[in-house]
Amino acid sequence: MAQELLGPRGSELIAALKAARVEFVAALPDIWTSVGFLWPLSRDPAFRLIRLCKEDEGVSICSALAFCDRRAILSMQYTGFLDSVNSIRGTAVNYNQPVCMLVGLLAKEPDKAPKDSQRYDVRITQGILDAMGIDHLCIEGSEDVARLAPAIDRAYELSRPLVAMIGRTVRA
């Protein structure tokens, strides 16, 4: 019987954001991360949650916060990332802004890397990140969460955008 491949816990992701001194979270709910991550985060007084109507708003909000030495993260589904590509290009990439994003890869196969997914929309997400020259990592399970805070620190130190793809459902 195959071993079940479990996603990270939301509490682990939240702790990583705190370790990276993230204060603001701009978000649209993503079914991949909603129960385990966004709901608990929404009740955590350490964060100011900005509920968005559309994901590209969050790119600009996070960029402006970075101008003012406030760390933020934009949490969304990969569909929101795809919809926000122009804003990410025009705001984060062209102007070297440390816009950090958590992107849930809904329905990605748990045993496959995003680039190897059979799902076209998941597969192209990583391809677009590569084409745009955006630093990225994929968090599949708890063992990957330790990479998140250093990656955020690095994004702010180098003033570069970052995408952390969430490859499996986030557990409560």
Partner: protein, 195 residues
């Protein structure tokens, strides 16, 4: 309808030390009329200046943030009105420069030209203070008080179509502009953080 340059001169006289985020193509004259280190010219992703201004307003809650949006620009990001109203930034004043057309892209009309009411949309989105101006004298008289209100404040500026415009995006929308703006923010950040 108000002439845009004179409208901006009235705003500049009341601006104080506010940060002004302007949608470049909707507010071409702003940089020349009101040169200031705390001007940010939003170029690159149309529609995003209101969201950028919200981020500044949240980061610097003690400082006044003014956004000069365009009508076509706001139509691209109407949801930002709801997001801003929900976030309740007391220090944000949101102007939309309504001239009814995509001025820099050939003068084509915006959808709903002459019928859409941005003020009504903002009111419905939850902005507590909403205004509309089409008379220059009334705007000049009221803008100081408007800027002192607890926001978010929204005001439509009904503007006459400008004449020929000399477009020079590269002068303002580049990494140097970002660097200069960030440097200008340093004293405000230090004041906020007590450093």
């Amino acid at each position: 309808m108000m002439p845009r340059d004179r409208c901006f001169k009235a705003l500049a006289a009341a601006r104080g030390d506010a940060i002004v985020v302007s949608r470049y193509s909707a507010a071409f004259e702003w940089g020349a009329i009101a040169p200031h280190a705390l001007n940010y010219f939003a170029i690159g992703a149309m529609g995003q200046c209101s969201s950028f201004a919200l981020g500044l307003a949240l980061a610097l809650p003690q400082h006044k943030i003014i956004v000069l949006d365009g009508d076509g620009s706001l139509l691209m990001n109407l949801g930002s009105l709801v997001t801003i109203a929900a976030a309740e930034p007391k220090n944000l004043v949101h102007f939309v420069c309504e001239n009814g057309n995509y001025e820099v892209n050939g003068g084509h009309p915006i959808p709903g030209q002459g019928r859409v009411s941005f003020a009504e949309i903002a009111r419905g989105a939850g902005y507590p203070e909403v205004f509309e101006f089409d008379d220059l004298a009334a705007f000049a008289e009221n803008v100081p008080a408007l800027l002192s209100l607890a926001g978010p404040v929204f005001a439509t500026l009904k503007l006459a179509k400008a004449g020929e415009l000399e477009v020079a995006f590269s002068e303002r929308g580049d990494a140097d502009m970002c660097r200069r703006f960030k440097e200008a923010l340093v004293p405000l950040i230090r004041g906020r953080d007590g450093r």
